[in-house]
């Protein structure tokens, strides 16, 4: 088992989440708000991977809307073990974070071109 308990990782994740929320709530600079969002996403990822590593997973892949032809032990070898689900979810979160950062920075650059500033309090119009 890892050197530390599940609770250690959950506490680190909770701390990162709280600092991320603080950053989002208090910053006026849009780039700083984006940094807070990245902290929150990282904290969620730590929790996902920690639960994937520590907590008992269902014996099979569980109910899905898609019929898989293989079940039981054979399914693990072909579709991947059930406990990997948290890691896969974390990989999707990383993909989403990359897309989100690219689009958010493009929007921030557009705001800067139009307003000459990236203060989130100044951005009050949807059009114009």
């Amino acid at each position: 088992m890892p050197v530390a308990n599940l609770e250690w990782f959950l506490l680190i994740g909770a701390f990162l989440f709280a600092t991320g929320v603080f950053t989002i709530l208090t910053r006026k600079n849009a780039v700083s708000v984006l940094m807070g969002v990245e902290l929150v996403l990282n904290s969620a990822n730590i929790n996902l991977v920690a639960f994937s590593r520590f907590v008992r997973s269902p014996a099979t892949l569980g109910p899905t809307s898609i019929e898989f032809p293989l079940q039981g032990e054979a399914a693990h070898h072909v579709y991947g073990a059930a406990w990997i689900g948290g890691n896969v979810f974390a990989a999707f979160v990383i993909i989403l974070a990359a897309a989100e950062a690219a689009v958010a920075l493009a929007i921030i650059l557009g705001i800067y071109r139009n307003l000459g500033d990236v203060d989130v309090d100044e951005v009050t119009a949807m059009k114009g």
């Binding site: 050197v3 994740g13 701390f15 709280a18 990822n45 898609i66 993909i95 920075l105």
Partner: protein, 175 residues
């Protein structure tokens, strides 16, 4: 006492873990509190490194590598570009103003305490499992059970690529 702390203090790896945890939390505090946005951005680099180390301690080798490649190599560079492009480079004070820090700290502190309470007092169904490589399992999951979200995320990335390029380009001068 040591068992109650939930960490194997006799193991040298425990101190490496504590160092990574301290690096993650400390640099996250700098991100949240620094008055200079460039300091915040570089502290975010340390946070991402620390989180990658924590993934390594969770035996998630693929996620740790992806964290380094995507976050440190991609997102952080994007954020630094964002900082550089949205400030006049001659500004000595790259300001990073804070509003209502007391209310924000109260909300964040309440969230942390609530999450910590749930984390510590819940009886988690922890199971012993030996560490095994995750990359092959993740690959099988991507082309097996999670094939549809995997393909959807590739379309999402393409859309984000085109959308970001469209949003960030300069308006053509009207003739």
């Amino acid at each position: 006492m040591i068992a109650a702390l939930g960490i194997r203090l006799g193991d040298p790896a425990a101190y490496v873990f504590l160092a990574f945890a301290a690096m993650t939390c400390g640099s996250a505090l700098i991100v949240a509190a620094s008055r200079n946005i460039v300091y915040s951005a570089y502290a975010l680099l340390l946070t991402f490194f620390g989180v990658a180390g924590l993934y390594a301690f969770l035996d998630a080798d693929f996620i740790a590598a992806a964290q380094l490649l995507v976050y440190v190599g991609g997102i952080l560079v994007l954020i630094l570009f964002g900082v550089m492009l949205t400030h006049k480079i001659r500004d000595i004070n790259l300001s990073n103003e804070t509003t209502n820090p007391i209310i924000g700290a109260a909300i964040a502190g309440f969230i942390f305490l609530a999450l910590a309470y749930v984390s510590i007092y819940t009886k988690w169904d922890v199971v012993e499992r030996t560490a095994s490589p995750t990359t092959g399992e993740i690959g099988k999951a991507f082309v097996g059970k999670y094939l549809l979200p995997f393909e959807a995320s590739s379309v999402l990335l393409l859309g984000a690529l085109i959308g970001a390029a469209y949003l960030a380009r300069r308006e053509k001068e009207k003739p």
